[in-house]
Amino acid sequence: MFRAVSSADAVPRPRSSLVPSTGQDRFFDYCLETYAPRCDPTGKLRGESLLWNSLEAAGVSEAGYEPFDAIRAAAGRDMTVFGVKWFRARLSWELYFYDPQREDRQITASALRRALAGVLDIRPRVRDTTRYFMYSFDLDAAALGDGQVPELNVYLQFHEGQGGHSYALREDACELRNTYRFHEPKREIEAILHQVQRSMWVDFTAVRVADIVLPELYECAKICVAKKRSADAIYYSGISIDQLRWFLHRFEYPHAVTSFVDRHRADFEHLMFDVGIDYRSRPDGSLEYPKTGYYSTL
């Protein structure tokens, strides 16, 4: 049913990574909260261009694009958040589907599962009655090849404040993956520092807060601090294209990504982006950033 895809059998992708902005574009952050573009989007690029660029950078062949097209057709334009992850020198992707108010029956996890049948096989099933507000799944080169999605991440929201827990759901297992909370960076800096400094993964006698609350990204709309199974993480949302460029260089993304974003700086300046950084102390006490990611909408 699924065509194998790998960089080895990559065929040239006929369509361009450059998808122009239209007057109909809606602008959402990675929580699918709306924002006003920073300037006139006319003549500029849609955020999805970053996704296509990353697929190209990873050497994904034409068939590997199909799931993304199918997802967009099912969930609607601008309605899917994508994350491009950089982990162990490999790019992979995560797709996020939000519908906290259950406004859209077509993007419940079960409806999406049906809509993607034949393109992606989402193995775990979530009851529609489970009061999740969001779910996501990962796609890497292997998943794009065999079309199998063995795991869903399901997010349950806190009663107050923005944040929640996420669970990794497989056909035969379900486990707590992380807890996260969003803050306004400037008004709630004390809460952010509190969250960051209480850590099982970081030795703050050897690590400075400034290596986690990064000055280059601090000017943003929201900061989210997450506690994960094997690291802590910090997410900066609502950053500018210049901050994204800094991030991509700082965390040593592939040249095909950094050069693309540098080249199209002006084409992306109307947009806001979101980035996430996992961090933990190494045995010698120094800080490492095992995994990072950047986000926009499809």
Binding site: C39, P41, K186, R208, V209, A266
Partner: protein
Amino acid sequence: MAADLVVMIDGEGPMPGSLRSPSASPSPPSLGENFDPRPFLEFCTAHRGAPRYERVILVGDGQPLEQHGFALAEAARRGGFRRVRLDTRPWRLTNPRQVQAVVQAGVAEISVGLHATDPALHDRLRDRPGDFRDAKKCLANLARLDAEALVYIVMTSANVGQLRPVAQLAIEAGARRIDFWAYAPLDPTESEQQLLVPLDELAPRLLEAIATCRAAEVEAVIHHVPVCVLGEEGARVDATEPDHFHDHSQFWAAADPSARPRFNCLREAQCDAAEVCLGLSHAHVNRFGWELDRLRALPRTRPWRPRDRSVRRVDARGRAQAPHGHARWLDLLGAHAMGVEGVALTRSEARYPLQMPDGTRFVLVISARDDAARTFKQSRSFNLAYTDVVGPATERAIAAFVGPVLDTIIANDDGSLSLDARR
């Protein structure tokens, strides 16, 4: 709007507060090879009729400055700027006749960097042998003419121990004003990082130098140092930034905010000085951390507002262009767009907050056309309604107020905008 307007003529001139010219930085701004003076000359003609800037600062040190500097200074003087300042490297101003010609062209202020009392250190910081000698000659020439010498000192770990004597030297050389800049490099190399100074070392020495200026009645201005570590002298901190004149073809890079050092303070929202204080440079934070033990937020007396992060654009005439945001969604309302407080687009709606003359507030909501849904009116693609009414107006009064707005939407909706996520 800033009181000063910077015109970058080339990438060779010294930028305020930096040790080197932009062209010497690892990623120099790509200024046009061939500087075209016409946009600025046109700007001067317009500015003369309606002056908006107090001062123009011409920055350059290369061939374009030689070719166009006099014409630009004269045009600026005639163009409604009360002050014309030149930021160039001092070697150009060692000849008294040259300085006289520059002053006669209308340049009333010249800034000169002086960074040490000993020539070797100054030249090393400037990375230019002979710069100290040239700076002193330039200052001596200015002292003989009616031109103001504005001395600036970039404070680094190398010269922080001699700030007071440098200030004294500048005063003796006739400085009318001394600007103290904390070193704030962009993308510093390792050796540049070593030039940064922690606050507890910088503040007491800076305060001594300020005391020297005060005693000599020479104006002292401080840049890039947190207000809260300076006590009463915190009032001398100037965090304003000049506007940069540019037209897109030539000056894009000069206006690129990523090409300038950035600053932040974690306590910004709690601190009353946040509007006049930049906090710490990113280079400083990366070297010494956020210095939370040293920074003391001054209790706020007015509400803190987040910064506007829209992209600012200035057109060739120097007029600020408004960010367009959701321009087409606002266009839908025609002239009524002036009366709404923006538009928020959600998954399924465009929402426009409106206020009536009697203070009644409500939200005009447009959603994808659905003939089965109850709605107030419909346009080609949308259901139109209002909600969240707060205030004294009756339903009839609201309907009368909102009617013309809805009629405009109906007239303007040509089907090209959609709130159907699947289109």
